[in-house]
């Protein structure tokens, strides 16, 4: 395991911890802006750092061969493949947020550990589906992943503007507005990092294909071979 991956893992865990414990989590109970800061850290920044740490690779290397094989078989099973496909993963992530903030759910159980776990886990699945560095033999090509990424960013932006006009139950209007603007522009910032990493991965993959002689240019997924992307 390389030093940058260890740094990403530590930073990812620290970011997630900062969102659910300590002063920020305390303030989040009564302040929607603090809550939204925690949401961005837990649902976007922490998953990004954890995905770049390639934790599955780390676990596979640490496990004995038999257990590693069983884990690989599990990760390649149909249900896991389904939720790690970018489109369902994006829908799961965005759908959870819509459910949380447009129903009474946020007011009722917004700081329940299960909700925190869902936000982190669905953020992780989505981020891994789009820019994962762990091996994933069934990962679709760049166009599908780009479409899922744009779809999720749009759902996030629409939800932020919707909350600006329609505060979640129990949140005063001015707090909702400050929180919604933070969600919109803070989300943009996190998205920018995600987009740059995604495009950089494409750039490297395209460069590797371009340097190969023509008869060997069959690496990558079927979609990439077909489109030359």
């Amino acid at each position: 395991m390389t030093a940058p991956r260890i740094a990403c893992l530590a930073a990812g865990l620290a970011t997630a911890a900062a969102a659910v414990t300590g002063p920020l989590a305390g303030a989040a109970h009564h302040d929607f802006t603090a809550h939204m800061t925690g949401h961005l850290l837990l649902g976007m920044i922490a998953p990004l750092l954890l995905v770049l740490a390639a934790p599955v690779t780390m676990v596979l290397r640490a496990l004995p061969v038999g257990a590693a094989r069983r884990l690989t078989r599990f990760l390649n099973s149909r249900p896991v493949r389904m939720v790690t496909h970018p489109v369902p993963a994006a829908a799961l992530n965005a759908g959870g947020l819509w459910l949380l903030y447009t129903t009474g759910l946020h007011h009722a159980i917004g700081s329940h550990p299960a909700v925190h776990f869902h936000v982190l886990a669905s953020g992780y699945l989505f981020t891994a589906a789009v820019i994962g560095v762990d091996p994933a033999p069934h990962r679709p090509g760049h166009p599908v992943r780009a479409a899922a990424l744009i779809g999720f960013l749009a759902a996030h932006a629409v939800l932020a503007k919707h909350l600006y006009g329609h505060p979640p139950p129990g949140v005063p209007m001015d707090e909702a507005r400050a929180g919604a603007e933070l969600m919109y522009y803070g989300g943009d910032l996190a998205d920018l990092v995600l987009i740059v990493v995604f495009c950089h991965q494409w750039y490297r993959a395209a460069g590797a294909r371009w340097r190969l002689p023509a008869e060997l240019r069959t690496a990558g997924t079927t979609a990439e071979r077909h489109n030359g992307w």
Partner: protein, 144 residues
């Protein structure tokens, strides 16, 4: 996709991204003419705004990586790239000025004034950008 088309695509994506970025920075943040959210905005307007916001953000970054890819292959074609850029910027501006501002009623260019001259200036600027871009693209195609 041919390298010539990739030049157009890279330019068009950057044009769209820059037009959206200028709209956000100048009209929303600096002048405060546009509103973040207009209470009368219908749902379709919000969805269109969100999709264009997400796409333009992605397009800005993707266009620069596409451009870097063209450069390392020594395949940059300035006429096609600029043609794409002007067409993309004008296309977004026209979509924003007609569909989003007028039909979907997302928000107006400016509030508390007669908006008609602003709408004409906005959309004429858009058409001029598209015209300049298309001229460049047609000339590049003829030269090839």
């Amino acid at each position: 996709m041919s390298l010539a088309d990739r030049n157009v695509l890279s330019g068009a994506l950057l044009g769209l991204g820059v037009a959206a970025f200028v709209d956000e920075v100048v009209f929303h943040q600096l002048l405060h003419w546009h509103h973040f959210y207009d209470r009368s905005t219908p749902a379709a307007g919000l969805v269109s705004d969100g999709l264009f916001h997400a796409f333009s953000w992605f397009a800005t970054v993707a266009s620069l990586f596409l451009f870097a890819d063209l450069r390392r292959r020594a395949a940059v074609d300035p006429a096609r790239w600029w043609g794409g850029l002007l067409t993309g910027a004008g296309g977004f501006q026209l979509y924003d000025g007609t569909i989003q501002h007028k039909i979907l009623q997302l928000h107006q260019i400016r509030y508390g004034v007669n908006v008609t001259p602003y709408d004409w200036a906005w959309n004429i600027a858009a058409v001029l950008l598209i015209a300049a871009g298309v001229v460049l693209l047609v000339r590049a195609r003829r030269a090839a």
